[in-house]
Symmetry: C2
Subunit: 200 residues, 2 copies
């Protein structure tokens, strides 16, 4: 005994979403069929449209509906500084802070040999070519401060060692509004190592 | 600064799924566009097909692709006993236990006035008509042993009080394989109250 075949198919299809197992997929399918039919139709249509029209920006690899994304097309941005991030969400967070005005390169992940993700999958060669072509002066490697993010940062830095570009990493320390008592040891070590004179 | 418009639409559409907030929707959208395009297309197609073809069984209200579901069509099942459950998943669990061979009625929820779910939304009138029409001898109200499930059970029992049908609830007690030390007080009270002679 199983559910009706199409319902089984729908539950299977929902399991392709990250973090969704059998029980959550079942719950989602029931809700879509019971009280969320309108939302279900919208999801089916929007998903098809997004899969059809959203590709990668030729220049920075970010998601884009046009061959070049709006940020890469923006002529008012600085061209000699480039920030390397792991995900489109990172670009959005940095843009919302409204401080950085340079170029981006989105790796869409980090090096993870166990998952079959090597330098080619994250576009390291493309990044290197772009740095050389655009005469980038500074490359800020803003991958996440995790083991994988650090590995990826060091790999890219190694590959660019002879290029003459200045390679930087984001400062590590206590976040604004953080409470010392709740901050982990490694972050505190970074904060002490990177301490600055109060006047400066 | 936001994501590309179609990506924003996709994130919004994914939020109609239960338990999915902004960040999970974002993660799902990224994964679908990045490494799960095939799964994404399958989801879009299957969802549309399911929304188009899956309706409710005229007799028991369960999800069905035909006017009557296979269980209601099965002439070999007993017709004088009916089991009322909250969800299609409950029907599946009971069928997998392979003991009960009677009819079903699926409420697709429970009474919840705060969410606007009253007797009409769960089909109580339809259940009453069916009990009368089919001359049901016993109605097992197998709603969940939660506050809402118990309320729903009592409401249905009240409405059927003058009908002459035997109304039963599933036995409550310790589950098979359970350890006494880990079982909550109310379950233990039920287990003691419902104790049986060892020979019987």
């Amino acid at each position: 005994m199983a559910f009706t075949p199409l319902l089984e198919d729908l539950i299977d299809a929902l399991r392709c979403l990250p973090g969704v197992g059998q029980k959550s997929a079942q719950r989602m399918a029931f809700q879509l069929l019971e009280r969320g039919r309108e939302g279900g139709w919208a999801l089916s249509r929007t998903l098809a449209a997004a899969l059809e029209k959203i590709g990668r920006c030729e220049t920075c690899q970010n998601f884009s509906e046009t061959p070049q994304c709006p940020l890469c097309q923006d002529a008012s941005r600085e061209t000699d500084i480039m920030c390397v991030v792991e995900s489109p969400a990172d670009v959005m967070a940095i843009e919302q802070a409204r401080d950085y005005r340079g170029q981006y390169f989105v790796l869409m992940g980090h090096l993870s040999p166990i998952d079959g993700i090597g330098p080619e999958e994250i576009g390291v060669d493309k990044l290197l070519q772009r740095v050389t072509r655009e005469g980038t002066r500074e490359l800020i490697i803003a991958t996440n401060p995790t083991v994988e993010g650090e590995t990826t940062a060091h790999y890219i830095a190694d590959r660019l060692a002879d290029n003459g570009v200045l390679i930087t990493r984001l400062a590590q320390g206590i976040p604004v509004g953080g409470e010392l008592g709740y901050i982990d040891g490694s972050t505190l070590v970074h904060a002490f190592t990177g301490r600055k004179p109060l006047a400066g």
